[in-house]
C-alpha cells in the first residue's frame, strides 16, 4: 500500500533510538512499543479490519444472519446483484451523483473560492457562513430541506408567487426529479468544504507571485486564470478524489429525505445495501453488495492516484472515509 504511505525512509533516518546498553533495555523498548501499539491495533482489527474480511467471506454464502453459515453459494450473490435492475439502477444513480458533483459542485466551489480570493474584505465572515452547513448533521439538513421541498409549502409557495401559473412540483415524490432535488441539498451542505480547501490553497500562494505577474501587466482575471488555478491543481485533483469517493458511498441525506424512493428513483448502493442487507435479512447478499461498492471505490482510488495524482496524498484522504 505504498500509495497512501508517506516517505518511510525519511522517518527511519530522523528517529534515533536511545542507546541500547543491554538486552534488558531492548526488551523494555519492545514492551513500550507493544503497550503503545496494542490497544489501537486490537480495536482497529476487531471493528474495521475483520468486518471487511468477513464481508468478503459472508458474500459467498446465502445467509440470513441467524442460522449457522452453511449454504455456500460461491459467486451467486454477485451474479444476482449484478443482474438486478434495481441495484444496477442504484449504481447508475451513484455515478450520476459523481458526475454532477464533478461538473457542478466542484466548479461552483472553485468559483466561490476565487471570488473570495486572498483579499476580499470580509472574507472570513463569508467563509464562516459558507462552511456552516458542513458541520450540521445530515439529519437536520435533510429535515429542513424536506420541509422546503414540501408539495404544499416551502419552495413551491415562493415559486407560485413569482411565476404566474406555476404548477407545484413534487420535488421528492417524483422519481424523475428526486435525485436533482437531493443533489441541490448536497451542494448546499458540501460546497463549503471544498471551498475551504481551495481558499486554504490560495492563501498558500505567495504574494510575490501575484506581484510579479502584476508588474508584468497581468490583469486580475489573468492572474486568476494563469496563476491561481494552475497552482491549485493539486488541491483540485484531491477534491475530485474526495468528492468521487463520497458520491459512491452517499447515504445519510438520501435516507432521511426519500429512503431511496420513490420507486427507487433515488436509490444508491448504500441505501440498497441497507434495505436488502438489514431490513430483509439477506446478509450474504448485502455483503456482496458491500464488496462491490468497496471494489468500485478501491479501483477508482488506486487508478486515480496512479494516473492522475502521481504524487503522494498524505493526510489528504481525511474525508474519504467519512
Amino acid at each position: 500500500m505504498q500509495l497512501i504511505s508517506p516517505t518511510p525512509a525519511a522517518t527511519e533516518t530522523t528517529s534515533s533510538q536511545p542507546p541500547r546498553r543491554s538486552r534488558q533495555s531492548a526488551l523494555r523498548r519492545m514492551n513500550i512499543i507493544l503497550l503503545f501499539l496494542l490497544p489501537s491495533a486490537i480495536i482497529y482489527i476487531v471493528f474495521v479490519f475483520l468486518p471487511i474480511i468477513q464481508a468478503a467471506y459472508y458474500s459467498l454464502y446465502r445467509w440470513n444472519g441467524l442460522v449457522p453459515l452453511s449454504d455456500f453459494v460461491w459467486l451467486k450473490n454477485y451474479q444476482l446483484a449484478l443482474s438486478n435492475k434495481i441495484f444496477l439502477g442504484s449504481i447508475g444513480h451513484n455515478l450520476l451523483i459523481l458526475v454532477l458533483s464533478l461538473l457542478i459542485q466542484l466548479p461552483f466551489s472553485l468559483l466561490i473560492a476565487l471570488v473570495i480570493g486572498k483579499t476580499l474584505p470580509g472574507r472570513t465572515f463569508f467563509r464562516t457562513v459558507f462552511f456552516m452547513p458542513y458541520i450540521l448533521s445530515d439529519v437536520i439538513a435533510g429535515l429542513i430541506w424536506q420541509f422546503i421541498y414540501r408539495p404544499d409549502s416551502g419552495l413551491n409557495v415562493v415559486l407560485q408567487h413569482v411565476i404566474p401559473g406555476y404548477q407545484a412540483q413534487l420535488w421528492l415524490a417524483d422519481p424523475k426529479i428526486v435525485l436533482p432535488s437531493i443533489f441541490l441539498v448536497m451542494i448546499w451542505k458540501y460546497f463549503g468544504f471544498h471551498m475551504v480547501l481551495y481558499v486554504a490553497a490560495l492563501q498558500n500562494i505567495p504574494d510575490e507571485i501575484d506581484e510579479a505577474a502584476r508588474i508584468d501587466g497581468a490583469s486580475g482575471l489573468q492572474i486568476m486564470r494563469f496563476i491561481h488555478i494552475p497552482l491549485l491543481g493539486n488541491t483540485i485533483r484531491l477534491t475530485i478524489l474526495i468528492s468521487a469517493l463520497g458520491s459512491l458511498q452517499y447515504f445519510d441525506l438520501i435516507w432521511i429525505m426519500s429512503l431511496g424512493g420513490p420507486v427507487h428513483g433515488s436509490e444508491t448502493m448504500t441505501t440498497y445495501l441497507f434495505k436488502y442487507g438489514f431490513q430483509s435479512f439477506a446478509l450474504g447478499y448485502g455483503s456482496a453488495v458491500g464488496v462491490i461498492l468497496f471494489a468500485l471505490c478501491f479501483i477508482f482510488a488506486i487508478m486515480y492516484q496512479r494516473f492522475i495524482m502521481a504524487r503522494e496524498v498524505e493526510g489528504s484522504l481525511t474525508e474519504a472515509a467519512a
Binding site: M1, I4, S5, P8, E12, T14, S15, Q17, R29, I33, F36, L37, P39, S40, A41, I43, F47, V48, F49, I52, A55, Y58, G65, L111, I112, G117, L120, R127, V129, M132, I135, S137, D138, V139, I140, W145, F147, V157, W188, G192, F193, A200, G220, L248, F251, I256, T270, L273, F274, G277, G286, S287, V291, R311, E314, G315, L317, T318, A320, A321
Partner: protein, 301 residues
Amino acid sequence: MYTIQQTPTYPRATLQANLVLQRRRRMMRLYVQLFPRYVICVLVAIFVLVPILTAFIGGFKTSGELLNSPFSLPIAWQWQNYANVLTQSMFWQAAENSIIVMLATVGLLMVIACPVSFVFARMPFRGREVIFNIMLIGLLFPFAMAILPLYITLRTFHLIDTLLAVILPQVAFGLPVTILILRNFFRDVPQELEDATYIDGGTQVDFFWRVLMPLARPALATVGMLTMVASWNNFLLPLLVLNSPQLWTLPLGITQFQSQFSTDWASVMAFISIAMIPAIIFYLFAERYLITGLTAGAVKG
C-alpha cells in the same frame, strides 16, 4: 548662478481638490472591482442561510402559518413550540446520550491514538510501515461496506443496544485520520528536543509524556474537534445498533420526533433549531481548529 527650478504653482485649493478626486477615482475603481464579488457572495450566503433561518424562525410560528408563509417573519412570535421541546424528557435524554457518546469517543480515541502515533512517528521497528499502511487503508473503506459484519461482531459481543456499540466502532473508524494527523505532528518535532530529554536522563516515555504531549495540544484540539463533530452528527451507526428509545442520540431522536409530529412542522423546526444551536456555537468558537484539521496535509505539495 542658481538655476531656479520652475515648479508650477497651483493654488492650495486646487491641489487638494485634485487629490480628493484622485482618491475618489481609486475608490471607485476598487468598488467596481469588488462589487460583483460581493453580489455573488451575498447571493450564496442567502442560499446558505435561508434554510437555517427557516428552521429557527419556523419554530416561532404556528404550523399553519409556517406552511402558508414558510420564509416570512412570524406574525406573532410563539414561544410555545420551543418550550414544548425543552420540557420533553425525550429531548434531554437524547442530548445526554449524544454527549456521553461524543465524550467517550473523543476520550478513548485520544488515549489509544496518541501512543500509537508516537510509535509510528519516532520508534522504528521492523514491519512498522506495514502496520501503519494497513491502518491507513481504513481511510479507503466505505463504512457502509463494513456495517453488516460489524453488526454481527457487535451482536457476538452482546453490545447491540448499548452505547458502547456506537462508541467503539466510532473510535475504530476514527483511528486512521487521527493517527495520520498526530503522526505527522509528532514526526515534525525536532530531534534536538528528543536528544535533550535523553541527555537530561529521561526515557522515551518521558519524552512522549512530558515533552511531546504538551507540545501537541493544538494538534490534539484539532483532531478532537473533528471527532466530536463526526460523533455528534453520526446517524447510520446509531440507527443500526440502538433499538431502545432511551438510548437514542439526538439525530435519531429528531427523526423519531419528526415521524411522531409530522403534521406539526413548527414543533419539528423548534426541535431541529434547539439541536442545531450547540453545534453552531461550537463551530463559531472552534472554526479555526476544524478548518485546520480538514485542510491538514490537503494543501501542501
